[in-house]
C-alpha cells in the first residue's frame, strides 16, 4: 500500500540523501518508506551499491588485530557516546580495566594495590591515569598505570621505571610530585597527587588565546619548573599544553608527565633511534632525531607561549611529515598577525625561543622564567618595576658575531699585519698553516646556515642590516688579505678577548640608543 500523498520519486530520494528535504517532506517520505519496500531498496542502492553495504558492515564491525592503534582512527568509530571511553568505566564494560581487582566498596570501580579506584581521568600513549583514594593517608591520588600490552615488553617497563625515578628526583612547586612507584601483578604504576583542575590544552580549547598577564604567569611558572628539572640533568622532551596542569582555585601551574623524560646521559634508549615527543611542540633537533638537551624544552616552551597567545600551535600541519617540514624549515606566522594585542617584545621572546639553532635560543630556563617574571611585574606595577630591556638577542648575536670578527681582524689585526709581515720568520708561517689554525676566529662563531632565519625584515632593523652587511663585506676583504701566507702568523693570543668584548658591548649600547 502506497501512501496517497506521495508517489515514488527517485529525485526526492536523492534529496533525502543530500539532506535537502524540508521537515514535513522528510516526514512524508519517512512514512512512505515504511510501506514502500521498493523505495527503500531504491534509496539504499542510491546511497551505495550492495557491495558497499556488505563491506561497511564487515569492516566497521571488525577491530584490527587487537594491536593498539597509533592513531585514534584505528579505534572503533561507531561507539555510541553513552558507552564512550570513560563515561561508564566499569571493568566489566571496559576490558582494558580488567587489571583492577574488584572493590568491596560500591562507590569505586575497582582496586589497585592499596588504592580504591574511583574514576578514569585519561589515557595516553603509555597507559591510563586513574583517580584513586589512598585510604591510609586519606587523600585522593592520581595513579598512572602502564598499559597492559606495554607492560609485556621489558623495554617499556624499564622506560616507565626510569620515568618515575627521573620525575621523582625533581621536587618543585611547578612540577607534579611522584608519591610512589609500585607494581601490581606485573603491572607497574606510579602514584601522584590528584590535582583538581584542567590542562592548559583544555583551557585553550575552551577559551582560545589567553590574556598577556595570564600567558606570562603560566609561562614563567613552566619555565621555573623546567629550570628545576634541568638542574637535575633531566630534559622533559615533551612540553606541550596537555602536559601543563592548571590547578583549580590557586593560580598555580604544574608540569606533568615526564613520560618521555630521560636523563641526558642516558643513551641506551636513544640507540633505537626512537623519535619521542609530540611533533607539534618538538624542537627541530628532536624531530631530526638528534640529541635533545634542555634547550629543546625551551623551543617547546616557545611553542606553548605562541599557542597561548594565538590559540593555535605554531607548526600546524597535522601530519608528522608536514609538521616536520615546518619545524625544520619555517618560522611560524608572526604572532602579531594573529593577535595584534600581543606586544613586540613578547613576540621577540618567542622568536628567540624558536631559533632553529639551540645556541641562538636562551640558554637556560631560569633566564626565561626571570625575564617573563620581570615583564609581568612591570605590567602589574609599571611604576615600581622597570620594563626589561628589549630583546634582540638572536639578531644581536649575529651582529656581534660579525662585529667581533670585524673588531678582531679589522682594527688591531691590520696593525699586527703590518708588523708581522716584517718581523715574523716565514718558516713559522708555514708551520701554523699546516696545523690549520683558524685566523683568530672561534669556530663556534662561524656563520651558520640557519642565519637566514633571522633575516626576515623587522621594522627598525633595516639600517642595522645594512651596516652588518657592509661590515661583513669589509671583513671578508680583510680576511682575504689575511689568508695570504704571511698574515696567518697572528695568533688569537695577540688580541685580548676582553678588549673585543668591551668594544662589542660599546657598539651594542650605541646601537640600542640609536634604534627606536
Amino acid at each position: 500500500m502506497v501512501s496517497p500523498r506521495f508517489s515514488c520519486d527517485l529525485a526526492r530520494l536523492q534529496l533525502a540523501l543530500d539532506d535537502r528535504l524540508r521537515e514535513d517532506a522528510h516526514q512524508d517520505l519517512a512514512s512512505h518508506l515504511e510501506q514502500c519496500g521498493e523505495c527503500r531498496e531504491q534509496l539504499e542502492s542510491l546511497a551505495a551499491g550492495r557491495d558497499w553495504w556488505r563491506k561497511a558492515q564487515s569492516h566497521l564491525a571488525t577491530v584490527e588485530d587487537g594491536l593498539p592503534g597509533r592513531l585514534t582512527n584505528t579505534g572503533r568509530p561507531g561507539r555510541p557516546s553513552s558507552e564512550g571511553a570513560f563515561d561508564d568505566a566499569r571493568p566489566d564494560q571496559q576490558p582494558w580495566l580488567g587489571f583492577l581487582a574488584p572493590s568491596d566498596d560500591g562507590a569505586f570501580i575497582g582496586r589497585l594495590g592499596g588504592y580504591q579506584v574511583s574514576d578514569v581521568i585519561g589515557s595516553g600513549g603509555f597507559g591510563v591515569v586513574l583517580k584513586a583514594f589512598d585510604a591510609a593517608l586519606n587523600r585522593f591520588v592520581a595513579v598512572k598505570v602502564l598499559a597492559p600490552h606495554l607492560a609485556a615488553s621489558g623495554a617499556a617497563r624499564r622506560r616507565f621505571a626510569r620515568e618515575a625515578q627521573a620525575a621523582a628526583a625533581v621536587v618543585h612547586e611547578h612540577v607534579v610530585a611522584i608519591h610512589a612507584v609500585a607494581e601490581n601483578d606485573g603491572l607497574p604504576y606510579l602514584v601522584m597527587p590528584y590535582i583538581a583542575g584542567c590542562s592548559l590544552q583544555e583551557r585553550l580549547d575552551r577559551q582560545g588565546p589567553l590574556e598577556l598577564k595570564e600567558i606570562l604567569r603560566i609561562g614563567m611558572q613552566v619555565a621555573a619548573g623546567l629550570a628545576a628539572a634541568h638542574a637535575q640533568g633531566l630534559v622533559h622532551r615533551d612540553i606541550k599544553p596537555a602536559n601543563i596542569l592548571l590547578e583549580n582555585g590557586v593560580e598555580r601551574v604544574k608540569i606533568t608527565d615526564f613520560g618521555l623524560a630521560r636523563t641526558i646521559d642516558d643513551a641506551s634508549l636513544t640507540q633505537s633511534g626512537v623519535v619521542a615527543g609530540t611533533p607539534q611542540y618538538m624542537a627541530p633537533e628532536q624531530a631530526r632525531g638528534e640529541p635533545a638537551d634542555h634547550r629543546s624544552d625551551l623551543f617547546s616552551l616557545g611553542s606553548v607561549l605562541y599557542t597561548m597567545a594565538t590559540g593555535r600551535s605554531p607548526f600546524r600541519a597535522e601530519t608528522f611529515l608536514g609538521v616536520w617540514r615546518r619545524l625544520c624549515e619555517d618560522m611560524p606566522r608572526p604572532i602579531r598577525e594573529t593577535n595584534p594585542e600581543i606586544p613586540d617584545w613578547f613576540a621577540e621572546i618567542v622568536e628567540t625561543l624558536h631559533a632553529k639553532d639551540p645556541a641562538e635560543r636562551f640558554q637556560s630556563a631560569e633566564e626565561v622564567s626571570d625575564l617573563l617574571s620581570r615583564h609581568l611585574a612591570h605590567l602589574q606595577q609599571p611604576a615600581l618595576a622597570p620594563r626589561p630591556a628589549r630583546l634582540r638577542r638572536a639578531r644581536w648575536r649575529r651582529a656581534m658575531r660579525l662585529l667581533r670578527r670585524g673588531a678582531l681582524i679589522a682594527a688591531p689585526a691590520v696593525v699586527c699585519l703590518a708588523a708581522a709581515v716584517h718581523w715574523w720568520p716565514p718558516s713559522e708561517t708555514t708551520h701554523q698553516r699546516a696545523e690549520g689554525q683558524p685566523v683568530a676566529v672561534d669556530s663556534r662563531e662561524q656563520p651558520r646556515d640557519s642565519d637566514h632565519e633571522w633575516q626576515r625584515p623587522i621594522a627598525g632593523w633595516n639600517q642595522i642590516d645594512r651596516e652588518v652587511a657592509e661590515t661583513d663585506h669589509a671583513i671578508t676583504e680583510v680576511e682575504q688579505q689575511l689568508q695570504r701566507p704571511a698574515a696567518s702568523v697572528i695568533s688569537p693570543q695577540t688580541i685580548s678577548a676582553q678588549a673585543i668584548d668591551a668594544e662589542a658591548d660599546a657598539v651594542e649600547r650605541r646601537w640600542a640608543e640609536g634604534v627606536p
Binding site: A16, Q27, A30, L43, D65, T74, P77, G78, S153, T319
Partner: protein, 201 residues
C-alpha cells in the same frame, strides 16, 4: 574497491604536489596504521614501529615524485610496502651489527618467516580497505546528529532490526531508513574522494 589494488590516482596525484598538506594528512591517516601494524606483526615494539613509520613516510615523500613520473610504475601500495619491508630489514640488520646478537639472526629469521608475498599482499589489501572504512567513518561522523549516526551503526553494522532501533532512538522506522542511507552515501562519497570513482565492483 576492486579485488586487485589499483594506483589511487586522485590522492596520489595530489601527493606529488608538496604544497598539498591535506593530501599528506589523509595519506598518513590511512596508511600509517597499516605500516605500523605491518611492523608490529614483524615483531617490532611499539616505539620502534612508530619510528619505522616515520622513516617509511620520509622515504616515500622523497621518492614519490620520481615514482609517479615513471611510465612503468606498478600499483602504489605494493611499492609503499616494499619500502617498508626494506627499511625494516635494514633496521634489523643495523641493530644486529650493534648488539652482535647471539643465536639465530633476527634479520634472517624475519626474512624466512615472511609470509608468502602474495598472501601478505592480500592481507594488506583487506586491511587497507578496512582502514579506509574506519577512517572515512571517523571523518564523516561529526557531520551527523548522534541519532542519525546510531541509526546507521546499529542497523548497518551491528545488524539490528530497523523497527527495534527506531524504538530505541525514538524515531520512525522510515526515518531510520533515511538516516542510515544518508550516512552510507556520505561514507561512500568520502572513500571515493580518496580512492577515485571505482567503488566496490
Amino acid at each position: 574497491m576492486e579485488s586487485t589494488p589499483t594506483t589511487r590516482y586522485s590522492l596520489l596525484a595530489r601527493l606529488c604536489q608538496p604544497s598539498d598538506e591535506q593530501a599528506w594528512r589523509e595519506f598518513m591517516e590511512i596508511y600509517e596504521p597499516l605500516v605500523y601494524r605491518l611492523a608490529r606483526r614483524r615483531g617490532f615494539q611499539d616505539a620502534d614501529a612508530a619510528d619505522l613509520c616515520q622513516e617509511v613516510f620520509q622515504a616515500a615523500a622523497k621518492a614519490i615524485e620520481r615514482w609517479h613520473a615513471r611510465p612503468d610504475r606498478g600499483a602504489f601500495r605494493p611499492w609503499l610496502f616494499q619500502i617498508a619491508r626494506n627499511i625494516m630489514i635494514n633496521s634489523l640488520r643495523a641493530r644486529q651489527r650493534q648488539c652482535n646478537a647471539t643465536g639465530t639472526s633476527d634479520a634472517r629469521r624475519l626474512l624466512e618467516e615472511q609470509p608468502a608475498e602474495d598472501e601478505e599482499s592480500r592481507l594488506l589489501d583487506v586491511q587497507y580497505e578496512r582502514q579506509l572504512f574506519h577512517w572515512a567513518a571517523e571523518q564523516v561522523r561529526s557531520e551527523f546528529r548522534e541519532a542519525t549516526w546510531r541509526a546507521f551503526w546499529l542497523t548497518g553494522v551491528d545488524g539490528r532490526k530497523p523497527q527495534q532501533v527506531a524504538e530505541e532512538l525514538h524515531l520512525s522506522v522510515g526515518a531510520v531508513y533515511i538516516a542510515r542511507s544518508r550516512v552510507m552515501a556520505r561514507l561512500r562519497e568520502k572513500i571515493e574522494e580518496v580512492e577515485g570513482r571505482q567503488g566496490p565492483e
